[in-house]
Amino acid sequence: MGRISFFLKEAFGSLRRNFFMTIAALVTVFLSIVVLGGVLVFVYTTDALLKEVEQKVEITVYLNTDPDPSQEEIDALSAEISGWKEVKNSVFVTKQEALDRLKEDFADNPEILEGLTGNPLPASFEISLVDPTTVDSVASRFEGNSIVDEVRYGKEIADKLFSATSWLRNLFVAAIALLGIVAVLLISNTIRLSIFARKREVEIMKLVGATNWFIRWPFIIEGVTVGLIGAVFAAVVVLVLNSVLIGRISENLTFMSVPLDAVPNVIVTVILLAVGVGIGAVGSAIGLRRFLKV
């Protein structure tokens, strides 16, 4: 029996002996990590949603109708747009296609379009961008172009969306940091209670000449074990709930496609387990600190 197996035996022995304390610590870790995992899942999902919405920020460039630009002018502009590195994709919509779309949109009440003579609709370019934040600068390039009538890109919507998403992300980062601190405090407090019950034991160990690390290792192994087990349960609950809830939500939210695979299960699991182990270890180290001063 080497040192390590001695420490392991000590740790598991006292986990068994202090069964109720172990359960209390386990439940605390479990709950903290479920909440943390919930926030993580929420962050990943909303992040994916926001990215998708951001992708939908398109620039629509309406061309003049009176007179309509010549094919050469259109080709020239098309080539120019395709040359910009900010542009991901550019689609030219002819006057006829625009009219077809309109007819399709009003297919249920065609009487609205009955009075329409000829085709008053402009041709347009629909441009999607690599990075949605460049929308302003790309849009401004059409100013003064002789064949362009109007540029639309929902500037306000775009701006609001960007400020909201960055604000939300900051909020989530803050929430996660706060939760982490709360979890460590809860764990160290639970462990302090369990150590307090064994205060005398620690005193005796010190009197016999045990070094602080010799006393500390079994407690840290205990903390890590509790943290790991709590985190495993929490990770299972979080991932199962995630797949169930996302399924439900995407059934009900038809106007927006909720990305089902937004949450990287492996990464979330690794994060939750690491946090569990971390708070277990840090918690027992903090909880033990007071009692090692003899």
Binding site: M1, R3, F6, R17, I204, G209, F214
Partner: protein, 227 residues
């Protein structure tokens, strides 16, 4: 082995623990530390294992000035001082054997070796047949024997016993005393704080009497009271 030079310890605000105590204890001596409760016996012992720091003066053990001993080295000091207490201070969740082995394990000794040593020492204190018993399953005298076995298993040059017979009946106390006497015979310095008048008178060893933190008597072959 032990040197106190003009040692004073005051517990805040103004309770005197020890006052200007100067004394030497040589290697291999057997010394009784006597005096009423609150006379400074426990303070004396706690200074020796550096559980307390003196306010003035110097304490040295084995030629080493404790003031210069770094905090992280305290465990190494304590491994060289066996301690026996009135309340035994055994780890409640460990068997007699495991309690003795713990003192060996903290020093980093290989384990099958430590098991052998621990069994030997339990046999020596007459508890070879109770090695698997937990402290609650042992009588007071037996618990004290385990605690002596633990204190002595590393063969420390110094053994301190703080009222080791305080909770035991006279007959059991006698057995404990004989054990300490035998340990002393192996060359280990033994310092024993006690209230046990009869025991001190019978043993006729060096007696250091404390009163209100001061040494009032230091006698080579003394009794509990003045002769």
């Amino acid at each position: 082995m032990i040197k106190f030079e003009d040692v004073t310890k005051i517990y805040p605000p103004s309770t005197v623990g020890l006052e200007k105590v100067t004394l030497h204890i040589e290697k291999g001596e057997f010394v009784f530390l006597v005096g009423p409760s609150g006379s400074g016996k426990s303070t004396f012992i706690r200074l020796l294992i550096k559980e307390l720091e003196p306010d003035r003066g110097r304490v040295s053990v084995g030629g080493r000035d404790l003031a210069s001993l770094r905090r992280w080295k305290i465990p190494y000091l304590r491994r060289n001082i066996g301690c026996v207490f009135q309340d035994f201070k055994l780890l409640p969740n460990k068997t007699a054997l495991e309690n003795v082995m713990y003192a060996l394990l903290v020093t980093g000794n290989a384990s099958h070796d430590s098991k052998k040593k621990a069994i030997e020492i339990l046999n020596l204190v007459g508890l070879g047949h109770k090695e698997e018993s937990f402290p609650t399953q042992l009588s007071g005298g037996e618990q004290q024997r385990v605690s002596i076995a633990r204190a002595f298993v590393n063969h420390p040059p110094l053994l301190i016993a703080d009222e080791p017979t305080g909770n035991l009946d006279p007959e059991t106390s006698m057995g404990i005393m004989q054990l300490l006497y035998r340990i002393n015979k192996t060359g280990t310095t033994v310092l024993m704080a006690t209230h046990d008048r009869e025991m001190v008178d019978r043993m006729r060893r060096r007696v250091i009497a404390l009163e209100e933190g001061k040494v009032v008597r230091d006698q080579k072959r003394g009794g509990y009271g003045e002769d």
